[in-house]
């Protein structure tokens, strides 16, 4: 289903129907994926909130198995908390909109929001989500939240507040038709990858069998809060414009909406646009804007010239932090990381690419870790431009004979105010030429660095293999020299062998040094 149709349905039908029909695209498809999506919604909310408040995130995730395909999920953070009057909207109103139009590269962009989880829980168990939150002001709020499916409004029950010294948000949800394991699409994998791309976060996971895993932070840098920007006219999509028109803007006319909500769009731009789309459309009330009209505006904007968008809203993890994190989490032998300078695609959307390539050590096999704004992309790997870019690289040039036979982890994070997804499922990056080129550039830059490592390794391997030959030569040589000297062969052998061992020892030391710090 096209985004266009999805949008229309949301307007025309009840929330429940909308959700049922679009469940697949909203991430609630298979049992395994539904659970992953739920974890994603909560975890990304927590991390985004912490970052905006300048807090080093500390997450506690607990998963309990209640029955067949029946689980309880608890996610707690040390974030800023949610004001008690806002919390019902966050968990009880679908497409509440807050993060749909914001020009901050947040993780939450990816999904439908936490209310989607509420909807899913409600549909599979009939139970509300339980939320406990405090802004650290000495008062803790607790409530059960459901969605009034006819009106798309929250229903709050059992709301209570009491005194307490705690800050953060804890949400507990019970779901059926879900499952939990360690497969590559699982919530476990999602959390693991989240930990890797968010080295400033400490994440504790309690699994159904009681296993406790803690991913400690390797970075103590508080992620700077992104400056919120407005969308740039050249980067805006029809979907964005429709969302802004129907949910965000307070403007009465489309023209004033554009001036208010877009970057670098002033009176002059309005006049130019009028020539392209006609006065009538710009005079329209945004609430009545139709998909085809929004499309017309977006196409017209593409023909116009605007001031370049600012790129300072992009938050990269950074080469150092990626390196530290990959080292700590994967225990590889060698890591090369590259964070590229921001670029712009489609003429107006800033983005940047960062990659890490980790090899050998504890790494077994090939793994591609894709991220959009640090949020892991687990699904639709085949359709993703990151995958295509990785496969298009001639890795042999960098000493990796075949990715599938190498012990290698390739980490790619795309940072953008607007990630170009292939579809509403938001799990695959579209093959936008500028983005693909940047991913390739980043990978090749990292490749050139790993080349130094791989060539050292293969050199050493070759040397060690050949050295084994010396072990076979040694008795022959000892016998020959013993014959000339008329001495005991064992005596000669001992002397030569000790020289050989000495050389081996030095080689082994040299080998141990490869990788460790070699990229520094």
């Amino acid at each position: 289903m096209a985004e266009k149709d999805m949008f229309r349905e949301f307007k025309e039908h009840s929330v429940a129907e909308f959700f049922k029909k679009n469940k697949q695209m909203l991430g609630f498809s298979s049992k395994i994926r539904s659970f992953t999506t739920a974890v994603h919604e909560f975890v990304s909310n927590s991390l985004d909130a912490c970052e905006e408040a300048g807090i080093l995130p500390e997450l506690y995730i607990e998963i309990q198995k209640l029955g067949d395909d029946h689980y309880l999920l608890k996610v707690r953070d040390n974030g800023p908390g949610i004001p008690p009057n806002i919390a019902p909207k966050v968990y009880g109103k679908l497409l509440a909109g807050t993060k749909f139009h914001r020009m901050i590269p947040t993780r939450g962009q990816q999904g439908i929001g936490a209310a989607g989880v509420t909807m899913f829980a409600q549909m599979t168990t009939g139970k509300p989500v339980h939320v406990k939150t405090s802004r650290g002001d000495g008062r803790i709020w607790e409530m059960d939240i459901m969605i009034d499916v006819k009106r798309n409004e929250p229903i709050v029950k059992n709301r209570k507040s009491y005194e307490g010294n705690w800050r953060g948000t804890e949400v507990v949800v019970e779901m059926k038709e879900v499952t939990y394991n360690h497969s590559k699409y699982s919530a476990y994998e999602y959390i693991r990858r989240t930990a890797i791309a968010n080295p400033h976060a400490q994440i504790t996971l309690i699994e159904p069998d009681g296993t406790r895993t803690v991913w400690y932070r390797t970075s103590f840098e508080v992620i700077r809060m992104a400056k919120e920007g407005k969308p740039h006219p050249l980067g805006i999509t029809v979907d964005d414009l429709m969302t802004i028109a129907h949910f965000v803007t307070k403007a009465r006319k489309v023209s004033s909406m554009l001036k208010n909500e877009l970057e670098a769009f002033g009176d002059k731009s309005a006049k130019e646009l009028e020539k392209l789309v006609g006065r009538e459309l710009l005079e329209k009330n945004p609430a009545d804007l139709q998909w085809h009209e929004a499309e017309k505006i977006v196409n017209a904007l593409k023909q116009m010239k605007f001031r370049a968008p600012s790129t300072d809203v992009l938050i990269s993890i950074g080469e150092e932090q990626i390196k530290k994190s990959l080292r700590a989490n994967l225990k590889p032998r060698y890591v090369a990381t590259v964070t590229r300078k921001p670029k712009v695609y489609s003429g107006g959307i800033p983005f940047l690419v960062e990659v890490g390539v980790a090899m050998d050590g504890d790494i077994k096999g090939f793994e591609l870790m894709r991220y959009a704004n640090r949020a892991p992309l687990l699904f639709e790997q085949g359709a993703c431009a990151i995958t295509q870019a990785v496969q298009s690289i001639d890795w042999k040039r960098y000493g990796v004979q075949s990715l599938n036979e190498a012990n290698i982890v390739i980490f790619v994070n795309i940072v953008s105010t607007h990630i170009p997804y292939v579809s509403a499922g938001k799990q695959a990056i579209a093959d936008v030429p500028e983005v693909v080129t940047e991913i390739r550039n980043a990978l090749m830059e990292a490749g050139r660095r790993i080349k130094e490592y791989t060539s050292k390794v293969s050199q050493m391997k070759e040397l060690m293999a050949k050295k084994r030959i010396l072990d076979h030569y040694l008795p022959e040589l000892s016998a020959a020299l013993a014959r000339i000297l008329e001495k005991d062969q064992k005596e000669i052998h001992a002397i030569l062998s000790s020289a050989l061992e000495e050389r081996y020892r030095k080689l082994k030391e040299l080998e141990a040094k490869i990788g460790a710090g070699a990229e520094e």
Binding site: L463, K466, K467, I469, L470, D471, H472, Y473, P475, E476, L477, A479, A480, L481, R483, I484, L485, I492, I495, L496, S498, A499, L500, E502, R503
Partner: protein, 384 residues
């Protein structure tokens, strides 16, 4: 010189070789203990370490020495091969056996336990190891009881020779005497080892040595008793001479002060053979001091001879491209940097033909011994 002193000469050299081998092996062991490195120092025998010693008039080996390290995998095999050959030489010398390069190759060839690899796969490997040992130990392989195929060289003329033949069963070496005038059509076969320990050149009545490139032409000289008529020793190396033939020429010149004249075909290859007798070869540059005879003179054939002796044009053989290429290379050799030679090169290139020694028979069969050679000797018409 008594028989006993001859024999003791052989023993002395053998003892010196055994001592030298022991020193050589001891040094390897010592440095393995002190430096924790296992290496031998091999003089470099490539073209880059070869130079023409103008003063001495011979091709010499330079000073460069390469460390061959056992612990360097690239060298290990060669190191092992050299050591295996050294051990074989020790056995040969200690037991008094003389053997060929091919025998040594088979003696050391075997599969290395634990691998599918042979110690040597090609005789060239063991041959090279022997050459390395010659340069490292300072003895030629002939002294170390190893010869090549041999049998190419022949000699006839007024000279008394004694050969000392060792007895591997521990008996007294045999002494075999030869009178160079009292030999059959085959002449005295120069033995593969012509070192003083094995071959004594005793009485020499000849006044000069005539080296004839080709075996067949030498037979003409021998049958015609040229050596008797001109009081000389005639020698052939049957083409490219082996070490022993060169050694004998060298020794006749240095031990008995005999002038040496060389005859070859008038073509670049023949002329190069002359230079091998005279200056030595690039391959065996380290042996030049004992093999080369820089005072040798070239008697013929030359392209000038063609004109001077009025040969018919039917003896001409057209130069091939290869001949011209070789000629070009020879022009660059420093030991051919004489005006006289360059005049001959120019003449050959200009006239575009070469000529064989046998072509002298176009006049009549014995022309070469009756007229051509005596005339050249008489006129002292030699090239440097």
């Amino acid at each position: 010189m008594s028989d006993d002193s001859l024999v003791s000469g052989l023993r002395e050299t053998d003892q010196a070789i055994l001592r030298r081998l022991r020193e050589w092996a001891e040094k390897i062991i010592q440095t393995a203990q002190t430096e924790k490195r296992v290496y031998m120092e091999v003089p470099v025998r490539t073209f880059s370490n070869v130079y023409y010693d103008e003063e001495k008039g011979i091709i010499q080996m330079g000073e460069r020495v390469a460390k061959r390290e056992f612990l360097n995998v690239g060298h290990a095999k060669k190191f092992l091969q050299t050591s295996l050959v050294a051990a074989s030489i020790k056995d040969l010398v200690a037991e008094g056996i003389t053997t060929s390069l091919r025998d040594v190759y088979y003696r050391i060839k075997h599969t290395i336990p634990g691998t599918k690899e042979n110690t040597v796969d090609d005789q060239r490997e063991s041959d090279k190891a022997i050459e390395d040992l010659e340069t490292m130990l300072g003895f030629v392989r002939e002294q170390m009881h190893v010869f090549s195929k041999g049998g190419k060289g022949k000699l006839a003329g007024p000279v008394q020779i004694e050969e000392i033949v060792p007895d591997p069963d521990g008996g007294k070496p045999r002494i075999v005497e030869t009178d160079g005038e009292d030999v059959g059509m085959g002449g005295w076969a120069i033995p593969p080892i012509a070192e003083p320990e094995r071959v004594k050149i005793k009485k020499v009545e000849a006044e000069f040595v005539l080296v004839v490139e080709k075996d067949a032409v030498w037979t003409r000289f021998h049958e015609d008793r040229f050596w008797d008529k001109h009081n000389c020793i005639i020698i052939t190396g049957s083409g490219q001479p082996d070490r022993a033939t060169r050694r004998i020429v060298h020794r006749l010149h240095y031990e008995h002060k005999l002038p040496v004249y060389v005859m070859t075909d008038a073509d670049p290859w023949g002329w190069y053979i002359y230079s091998v007798y005279k200056q030595g070869s690039i391959n065996l540059s380290y042996l030049s001091p004992t093999l080369a005879t820089p005072d040798s003179r070239f008697l013929g054939l030359t392209i000038s001879d063609y004109h001077d002796f009025n040969f018919g044009k039917e003896v001409k053989i057209k130069l091939t491209d290869q001949d011209r290429k070789r000629l070009k290379e020879m022009r660059r050799y420093p030991w051919f940097k004489h005006k006289a030679w360059h005049r001959e090169f120019d003449l050959m290139e200009k006239e575009g033909f070469k000529m064989e020694l046998e072509a002298t028979s176009s006049k009549y069969f014995r022309y070469i011994t009756k007229e051509y050679t005596p005339a050249k000797l008489e006129a002292k018409a030699f090239l440097p």
